[in-house]
Amino acid sequence: MSAYLLRRIGTSIIVLIGISIFMYLLLHSVFPSPARIALGLRANQAQIDAFNKEHGFDRPVFEQYLTYINGLVHGNLGYSYAENQTVASLFQERLARSIYLSGISLIFAIAIAIPLGIFQAVRRNSLGDNVATSAAFILYSMPSFFLGLILIQVFALSFPILGFEASQSTSIWTVIGDWHDMLLPILTLTLITVANFSRYMRSSSIDVLAQDYIKVARAKGLPERLVLSRHMVRNASLPMVTLIGLFLPALLAGNLVTETLFNYPGLGLLFFNSLGKEDYPVLLAYTLIGAVFVVLGNFVADIALTVADPRIRLA
């Protein structure tokens, strides 16, 4: 196990270095310097040269990359010339908000999707299954921005009972307590995620119900409630572990579309705004952190699988 962990950490570092090089070169090949964007159309050459010198864009790309990595290693994510703040402080201000929005939505989605999927599997082809399947397909095929717009129109404008935008408070505790403004973005993310997760759960549960050990349990006269709770749920939930692990990047990196739609100052919205301003330090840091979360999510999912299913051994 420890050998596996070491090997996995080593490959993760290599993957992250590769991603950082790729992202750095990609950004710099498309836009060697953001000076024109940052300074405006009328910026003269002297101003552009000064900007490039100040931010190091006049140096060879590889040298810039090494400087950037050196900063990262020392905990310096860079300085955002578009926001006039360090990238670390920009992330720090927004991270908790993004984790809250994505996390609470994920918790709700899991709490709804797992029982719903089981119900649909057990009552396959019943009216309830068909209704839930139809609803899931509608939500699954619906872009989150479209669902969000509908919810805003209905619950914030036509019947103004909820806020049209997410909480703007700087205090995460105020945000958490502000159900009036947070309900719609949470609902948007939850519904989309439930549609996704419940389909997996239903399919997985159907597979498990067809397994021999379920038949044996039933043949032995075990009550159906115990068959489902003791033998089916845990096994059927295994694919969900992987799915939730892959959801981790979104959990931490924020939801770009939902945050933008609801004017929610999280990491996703920061990334969206930074794209328009070509704010390299923010874009690079966000992408790298996203990559870290993807690697981490997969890693956590693998570990969680071994815990959930003793048959799986990591080597």
Binding site: V30, F31, S33, R36, I37, A38, L39, G40, L41, R42, A43, N44, Q45, A46, Q47, I48, A50, F51, E54, Y81, A82, E83, N84, Q85, S89, E93, R94, L149, I152, A156, L157, P160, F164, E165, Q168, T170, T260, L261, F262, N263, P265, L269, F272, N273, G276, K277, E278
Partner: protein, 632 residues
């Protein structure tokens, strides 16, 4: 050159001291083909070219409130020092944010008129003497919030710190162009506390200097001339001290989290003091400066800026009634008439500036450089631009035709006579006649061919060999309504036998790759491009944009006569010089002019102002909340 620097407002970018990009966005309603506002309700203020109306001032039943102001998408203020670096130069940092704290020496706009509003300016109208080399400023008896007088020393301090900032980096002041102010400033003197005399090495147009170059907020010499928070007051005329002061103030301005708590920023002479600032969202609250010396409502309301990072969120805020004053996103213009029923007034005019597609005068592909250099070709292209049709079809009617660097609306005192009408109106037949008359064989829906090479009056022109085809590319910023406009142009051009190949791109990529002086390697990759447009200073010289070698050049337009006229605009004391420049550029079509788009603002019906100008200037991103009050 302009007042504007670059920041984005949806697809539209504005700047505060140079030209900027006006991309995407549009508008709808009446001001295009029927530029006279038809609103005749008694007491309602309208202007030619406007839409909506400003109701007469309401009864001020003594109510000040907290008036919220919504920004267009994603441009939270992030700079507070009145000396604004090029990288932080935006209408939000200056007009919306900084100017509430430190008013510029001469306040522009005057309502929706692109001119100085004298009563709102802390300085009197300047005088020019010594053949334009001496510029004298006198200051009114305004007070800083700590009771000190605002005067010549403050302006001299500001200019000395600007010089120190520029010594460190030319990017430290957005208005700076090497070789011009303050490089040309040879000396300053303060004959008395309220008079500052600037002596220049060469003549400068006083209006250009007044409205464009040193139209900046002043800094308090008595409070900011120090190198640390608790340090002693320094002699800022000593360059070494000025550098220390700049370094200190610059660092403080970068500390965005301390904007509302730093004592430096509490010394103001504008109508407001900053009381809260959220560095994450960019929202802020300003309370009235009780020592403010300029005109204002009494009592003044609190002013709260609320940024919306998406157009949808902003319009939802309007529809839900949760913001008092906000711009209408262009995509929502069709819903403007309904706002009346939802408790809002609205008013719109084109934002000051222009929209155009640029010609590349250096692109040798297919001899396009030689083709674009022909005036008849550019005139023919302008005849193919169906501005009335585009305004109706793509802007929902909310726009005005444009035929030169500045439009007819809002009305500028510098608008030349030939700028009041479209010189080259839409007419495919006129375009083909022009081409035929210059040696081209027309192949409608095919490709025109030069059949008479030469430089004669009825020949194709210099450098265009026989057999040359009228076929070239146009790269455009793929947002609405630019996409629709260039497709319309290409369709009209095809009918005239001009084959335009459209190629979609995006704003950021275009301005980094398809600007000739900045990207010489790509000179032959584009013949025309349309990224949107640019904003102008209220003194509307196109210095920088159309003068040979100008820092804002796009396709390397070069015309000796235009150069001479532009130079006169910035150096001659003659007030009509800039009109001569504009009049000439109207005729020469240096770029393909496209319709202006109305910028529409909505405010709740329970918000009124002591002057309609306080709502008119919203259309130019220039809020003056000190005049607003709540009526019920």
């Amino acid at each position: 050159m302009t007042r504007f620097g670059t920041k984005y407002i949806g697809g539209l970018a504005l700047a505060v001291a140079g030209i900027t990009a006006l991309a995407a966005c549009s508008s709808s309603n009446s001001s295009s083909s029927t530029p006279t506002n038809t609103n005749t309700t008694p007491g309602v203020t309208t202007e030619p070219g406007s839409i909506g109306g400003i109701p007469a001032a309401g009864t001020a039943s003594g109510t000040a409130g907290n008036i919220t102001y919504g920004y267009l998408a994603g441009n939270a203020p992030n700079w507070i020092l009145p000396i604004i670096p090029a990288a932080d130069n935006s209408v939000y940092n200056s007009f919306v944010f900084g100017w509430q704290l430190w008013r510029p020496t001469w306040f522009t706009w005057n309502g929706s008129s692109p001119a100085v509003n004298d009563s709102m300016s802390p300085a009197n109208a300047p005088t020019s003497s010594n053949g334009g080399k001496t510029f004298t400023m006198t200051f009114k008896n305004w007070k800083w919030s700590d009771g000190q007088p605002v005067g010549a020393a403050d302006m001299a301090f500001t200019l000395d710190i600007i010089k120190a900032a520029l010594k460190e980096s030319p990017a430290n002041w957005a208005n700076y162009v090497p070789g011009y102010f303050p490089d040309t400033l040879t000396s300053m003197s303060t004959p008395d506390a309220s008079t500052l005399v600037l002596n220049m090495a060469k003549p400068v147009n006083p209006t250009w200097l007044e409205e464009d170059i040193i139209d900046i907020g002043m800094m308090p010499a008595h409070a900011w001339a120090k190198a640390s928070a608790n340090g002693p007051t320094l002699d800022y005329t000593v360059p070494a001290n000025a550098k220390k002061i700049w370094d200190f103030l610059n660092a403080q301005s970068k500390s965005v989290n301390t904007y509302a708590t730093n004592p430096l920023w509490q010394v103001v002479y504008g109508p407001y003091k900053l009381t809260a600032y959220n560095a994450t969202t960019g929202s802020f609250t300003m309370s009235p400066n009780t020592a403010y010396s300029g005109p204002h409502a009494n009592p003044m309301s609190t002013f709260t800026g609320v940024p919306f990072t998406s157009d949808a969120a902003q319009f939802n805020a309007i529809k839900s009634g949760s913001v008092d004053v906000a711009a209408i996103p262009a995509a929502d213009n069709p819903q403007i008439p309904a706002l009346k029923g939802e408790g809002y007034n609205y008013y719109g005019l084109p934002a000051w500036g222009d929209y155009f597609a640029a010609f590349n005068f250096k692109d040798t592909t297919g001899d396009f450089n030689n083709i674009a250099s022909q005036l008849y070709f550019r005139q023919a292209m302008q005849h193919l631009e169906d501005q009335p049709g585009q305004i109706k079809a793509f802007l929902n009617g909310y726009g005005d035709p444009l035929s030169g660097p500045i439009g007819a609306y809002p009305q500028s005192p510098f608008l030349p006579a030939n700028g009041k009408t479209v010189l080259y109106p839409f007419s495919i037949s006129t375009a083909t006649d022009l081409l035929k008359a210059h040696g081209w064989t027309i192949n409608a829906n095919g490709t025109d061919v030069c059949s008479s090479a030469g430089t004669g009056a009825n020949q194709c022109g210099s450098g265009i060999p026989a057999g040359t085809k009228l076929a070239f590319n146009l790269i455009y910023n793929a947002v609405s309504p630019i996409t629709q406009e260039v497709e319309d142009l290409a369709s009209n051009a095809k009918a005239a036998g001009i084959n335009i190949t459209l190629s979609a791109s995006n704003f950021n990529f275009m301005i980094q790759n398809y600007i000739d002086p900045a990207s010489p390697a790509n000179i032959n990759k584009w013949a025309m491009e349309d990224f949107g447009g640019e904003s102008f200073s209220t003194y509307p010289t196109s210095f920088g944009l159309f003068n040979t070698g100008g820092s804002g050049q796009i396709g390397d337009y070069s015309d000796p006569k235009a150069d001479a006229l532009i130079n006169a605009s910035i150096s001659s004391p003659n007030p009509s010089a800039v009109m001569d420049e504009l009049s000439y550029l109207d005729t020469t079509v240096p770029v393909l002019w496209q319709p202006l788009r109305d910028h529409v603002y909505a405010w709740k019906t329970n918000i009124s102002a002591t002057t309609p100008k306080a709502f008119e200037n919203l259309t130019q991103y220039d809020p003056t909340p000190e005049f607003w009050y709540v009526t019920k």
